[in-house]
């Protein structure tokens, strides 16, 4: 059986290899900070296996997470010079390969879908080929490796170091932001352990009339949008609203379909992202890039759509999630 842990080790190994590349990259002014950050993250992926199966204590991993937060949070990571070839070369290459360039990229979702639907049912000696419950994640891993193979054959690229260096450049330019979703998920769990969801849930229950499904759906959806408008980030709003009302009220109490409630709930948060200046990278940065006098121009263009979509999401959830 292919276990999900093998795939996590592969990802951890990729981080460690890229960290080693970073340590040797003299063009990066903060090369040791960067290498430390990504190397520690890679090591944490391996150590986590022991934490999950309870053979290793969780506290050292907690310390490592705090070190990652300090390294990233205080700007101790940086990036080196990009390995991207000049524009003329890329234009020539695009002309040469044409739409074939999209083929490897499409391989990833196609393989992931096949794994999640077909390979899921394969068995060898009575044992499933892919670890149950992790088929899509494993499919992503298999898809990415297959896509890399397809890409290298198609582009006649012989050196494995080329995609690794390009991937590392992308890692460096995303920087610590790449780790943010995982840490927000961590924060959500801590909120849950400390009882934040229970508290918000108690307040919601006091305000919410019992058993009013449509009202509960509207509160969850609009709460996601409002929280996102305040925080500028649907990822941060999601654990709070879900622990408060999405999970206990909509899914447990009212027997909602979990994937539907949660997926649509996240999209309600995105409606909030469209209209808040807090989400600067999506709304204010484009205004600056486009040299607009009115820095709220993009928000004004998006506002009616966001409002209409929020209503749509409430309706879709109320109709199909129960």
């Amino acid at each position: 059986m292919i276990k999900s842990e093998y795939f996590f080790w592969l990802v951890g190994a990729v981080f460690i290899v890229m960290a080693a590349q970073m340590a040797m990259d003299r063009t990066n002014p903060k090369r040791f900070g960067s290498a430390g950050f990504w190397g520690l993250l890679g090591a944490a992926f391996f150590y986590s296996t022991g934490v999950v199966d309870k053979s290793l204590p969780a506290e050292p991993l907690g310390v490592a997470v705090l070190v990652l937060i300090v390294l990233g949070g205080f700007g101790l990571t940086g990036k080196g010079e990009s390995h991207t070839p000049p524009r003329e070369k890329r234009v020539a290459s695009a002309a040469r390969f044409g739409n074939k360039l999209f083929l490897p990229a499409l391989t990833i979702p196609v393989v992931a879908m096949i794994c999640a639907t077909l390979v899921k049912n394969w068995k060898i000696g009575g044992e499933p080929v892919l670890e149950p419950g992790y088929e899509t994640i494993l499919g992503l891993g298999v898809g990415a490796i297959a896509a890399l193979a397809v890409g290298m054959v198609l582009l006649r690229e012989r050196k494995v170091s080329v995609p690794l260096h390009s991937g590392r450049n992308m890692l460096e330019s995303m920087g610590w932001a790449l780790l943010l979703p995982q840490l927000l998920s961590v924060l959500g769990s801590i909120f849950q352990t400390a009882g934040v969801g229970d508290q918000v849930g108690r307040i919601t229950e006091a305000v919410l009339p019992d058993g009013q499904r449509l009202v509960a759906v509207a509160v969850y959806c609009c709460g996601m949008a409002l929280f996102t408008i305040v925080m500028g980030n649907a990822f941060a709003a999601f654990p709070v609203m879900t622990a408060a009302i999405g999970w206990p009220v909509l899914i447990e109490q009212m027997n909602g379909n979990a994937p539907a409630v949660l997926a649509i709930g996240m999209l309600c948060g995105f409606c909030g992202t469209l209209v808040t200046p807090m989400a600067a990278n999506f709304n204010l940065v484009p205004a600056a890039l486009l040299e607009l006098k009115d820095q709220y121009g993009p928000i004004k263009a998006q506002l009616p759509t966001a409002a209409a979509l929020l209503v749509c999401n409430v309706v879709i959830m109320a109709l199909f999630a129960f």
Binding site: G62, E135, G139, G151, H165, Q199, V230, L290
Partner: protein, 243 residues
């Protein structure tokens, strides 16, 4: 009630634009301690939840192949494709871009668009050029801003309501990571991605209709400014007569 201070820390932290990592770290520690966990338990819950949320970060495995393709001109080829749409009206052009952005994002190609990669160099100028070709003269500043704002809006809405149909995107993995570790569930990213499709379709219909309507708005406002110019020109002639 006092544990809700943790939420306040997050809100204040994000609102005052502190580094998000530090906000998350501080909020986690404060909430844990307020929730009567010992420092050791706080560390353990950081560790445990980090371990079970690893799936959120595994999309890194796709970076080498995307990086490789970008070296060989993936973005330039995406531009070539979009360049073939240049002969349309502003609204139709932006609607088609919205569709392409949604479809490519839904298979994970989120970085081939964006305000810096595509909107500024490509989408906004082409949308403006289409409007100017129709008007036969440069756009007034107000309309220029409107067209540019909509170019940015089409890009953002396209990627937001396309990417969640892809299983390896941060938000989908965040949902599964959070729910599977907090409530001990086995949610599959694929099921969540499928439930993002109805909203994606609504997003296309609503925003597409608004973009198509943009053509009519532009026409109307251009007619108004043209009339104003005429009026001003006439007024100019009359004052000369009076002299």
């Amino acid at each position: 009630m006092i544990v809700l201070l943790g939420v306040l820390v997050v809100i204040l932290g994000f609102a005052t634009r502190r580094n998000p990592l530090l906000v998350v770290g501080a909020a986690g520690i404060i909430t844990g301690l307020l929730g009567k966990l010992s420092p050791q338990e706080v560390l353990a819950s950081f560790g445990n939840s980090f371990a079970s949320a690893r799936s959120v970060t595994v999309f890194v495995i796709t970076l080498p192949v995307i990086g490789l393709l970008e070296r060989y001109g993936l973005q330039e080829q995406a531009r070539n494709l979009i360049g073939k749409l240049g002969k349309l009206t502003t609204g139709r052009f932006l609607t088609l871009y919205l569709l392409i952005r949604q479809l490519t994002a839904s298979v994970g190609l989120t970085s081939i668009g964006g305000p810096a990669q595509s909107v500024r160099p490509l989408i906004a100028p082409m949308a403006e050029a289409a409007a100017e070709a129709k008007a036969g003269r440069p756009l007034p500043q107000k309309l220029r801003e409107k067209v540019r704002s909509h170019a940015s809006g089409a890009d953002t809405i396209g990627v937001f309501f396309g990417e969640d149909c892809f299983i390896a995107i941060g938000s989908i993995l965040l949902i599964t990571g959070f729910v599977n570790s907090t409530y001990d569930q086995h949610l599959e990213p694929l099921h969540l991605a499928l439930w993002a499709i109805p909203s994606a379709i609504c997003a296309f219909l609503i925003h597409g209709a608004r973009l198509l309507n943009l053509d009519r708005q532009l026409e109307r406002e251009l007619a108004v400014t043209a009339a104003e110019n005429d009026l001003a020109a006439h007024a100019g002639i009359r004052t000369e007569d009076a002299k």
